[in-house]
Amino acid sequence: MLILPDLSQDIHITITDRAGETHKVEAPTDMAMNLMEVIRSYELAPEGTIGVCGGMAMCASCQCYVKSNHELPEMQDDEEAMLSEAFYVKDNSRLGCQIRMTPDLEGLEVEIAPES
């Protein structure tokens, strides 16, 4: 019997890179990946300019603007504190490393904030 891999868990997200180009990508939801890691896995921002601290909410290099109306995980203290010291912050700013890929984020749209 042939068992096909179950791809139903992949979600589709739209990411606008720092040059303004838009990419539609698929992200697995069963690999404990976060948005920063998805961006890195598709190399949508050069290595060394994103996820610098590794995903500890300590550098803001993965700052994104969330453009769709998805309900995102609530901001924890460390993310809020980091964003309060980051640059180019807007009301819809989030740190990509703190947004875990889950099925309810299907259709998520984000833009990567400028490097600082």
Binding site: P46, E47, G48, T49, V52, C53, M56, M58, C59, S61, D77, D78, E80, A81, S84, E85, F87, Y88, V89, S116
Partner: protein
């Protein structure tokens, strides 16, 4: 001029372990790091955070890992140039290299190993157009000599521990201290937050939140800053100094101009052999390098450091015989005269 066998640029885990591996081959090392303490990211960014993928340590704090690595390499007496950034490299006629720091300290060795991680940590500068014009003319990104603020008006921006701690410290030194932060909440040790609150109540710290510095003004030196409180009109505050404290971020920096092949903000190396760069005698190990299949892991840095040392031995001792030795068999002879060795087996006949 500091002379050694291997100049290691970067005193993070990879650089520190390289000292140990080099020592086993009787090679001396000298480390240069822009940070004032060894440990790299482990001590600067997350000393209190645990690491779970160091072989044989189910869990170790990043700060403790640094301590252990320092202890492990201590007998090989590494030299340190800390708080200085490696700026230039010059190849000499005899094949050796001279590495000079931003403060002019010179180091000479036949081999250079760049273990620079993500680069040297540089202060994050606020987005104010003309801020560079006032650097060291009233704008300082880190406090080196607190005495220079005596009797002066000082504005500090930032919401972390360094902004809080320096506001507290300078409240006793400066004529006035104004602390500006984008939010009402501060991210710092509870004691520091409480102390700032107390000094604010006493009128010793002028706390302005939620607000930002939106412009800076002056002629030859800083004269005032423009402060914008959320949803209010900007106002001007006269000041002698503006100290933005927004943390540090790593930048590859001057190394990028050393003629090394760079790809994805990292230095390309020969991973089939010894992690040497396109310039013979210069190696790149740990997070700073790249090659097909590269993983930025501390444990990979340890491996790369070990192979680099073997190649360095061949450069420094051309043609000299050597075989890999096991520390359990041979023990470890330190440059400080100490010797570590496995206890001898007891041979005793039964009566």
């Amino acid at each position: 001029m500091i002379t050694t066998d291997i100049i290691i640029i970067g005193a993070g885990p990879t650089g520190l372990f390289a000292v140990f591996e080099a020592g086993l081959l009787k090679l001396k090392c000298h480390l240069i790091d822009a940070l004032p303490q060894p440990g790299g990211q482990c001590s600067e960014l997350y000393p209190k955070k645990p690491i779970y993928d160091i072989p044989a340590y189910p869990e170790i704090l990043a700060g403790d890992l640094t301590e252990k690595l320092l202890e492990q390499c201590k007998q090989f007496e590494p030299g340190f140039t800390l708080g200085e950034r490696a700026e230039t490299i010059d190849k000499q006629e005899d094949g050796s290299f001279i590495v000079t720091t931003n403060k002019g300290t010179q180091h000479k060795a036949p081999v250079v190993a760049i273990a620079g991680g993500l680069g040297s940590f540089e202060p994050r500068k606020p987005l104010i157009d003309n801020i560079v014009d006032f650097e060291d003319k009233g704008v300082e990104y880190m406090i080196k000599e607190p005495e220079m603020y005596r009797g002066k008006d000082v504005v500090i921006a930032g919401g972390g521990d360094s902004a809080l701690d320096w506001s507290i410290f300078l409240a006793d030194v400066a004529k006035s201290v104004t602390l500006v932060h984008r939010r009402n909440e501060f991210r710092g040790h509870l004691d520091s937050v409480e102390k700032v609150q107390e000094l604010k109540n006493l009128g010793r710290i002028n706390l302005i939140t939620p607000a930002e510095i939106t412009a800076i003004n002056g002629n030859s030196k800083l004269e005032s800053v423009e402060i914008t409180k959320k949803d209010e009109k900007p106002f001007i505050l006269e000041t002698n100094h503006f100290i933005p404290l927004f943390g540090l971020s790593p930048k590859l920096g001057p190394i990028a101009n050393w003629g090394l092949e760079i790809e994805k903000n990292a230095i390309k190396v020969n991973n089939a052999l010894d992690y040497q760069t396109n310039i013979p005698g210069i190696f790149a190990i740990g997070d700073v390098n790249t090659y097909p299949g590269k993983l930025k892991l501390i444990l990979c840095g340890f491996h790369e450091a070990t192979l680099m040392c073997q190649a360095a031995y061949k450069i420094i001792n051309p043609g000299k015989r050597y075989v890999l030795k096991y520390t359990t068999v041979s023990g470890v002879d330190g440059f400080d005269g100490t010797r570590k060795e496995a206890p001898k087996a007891v041979v005793k006949a039964f009566e």
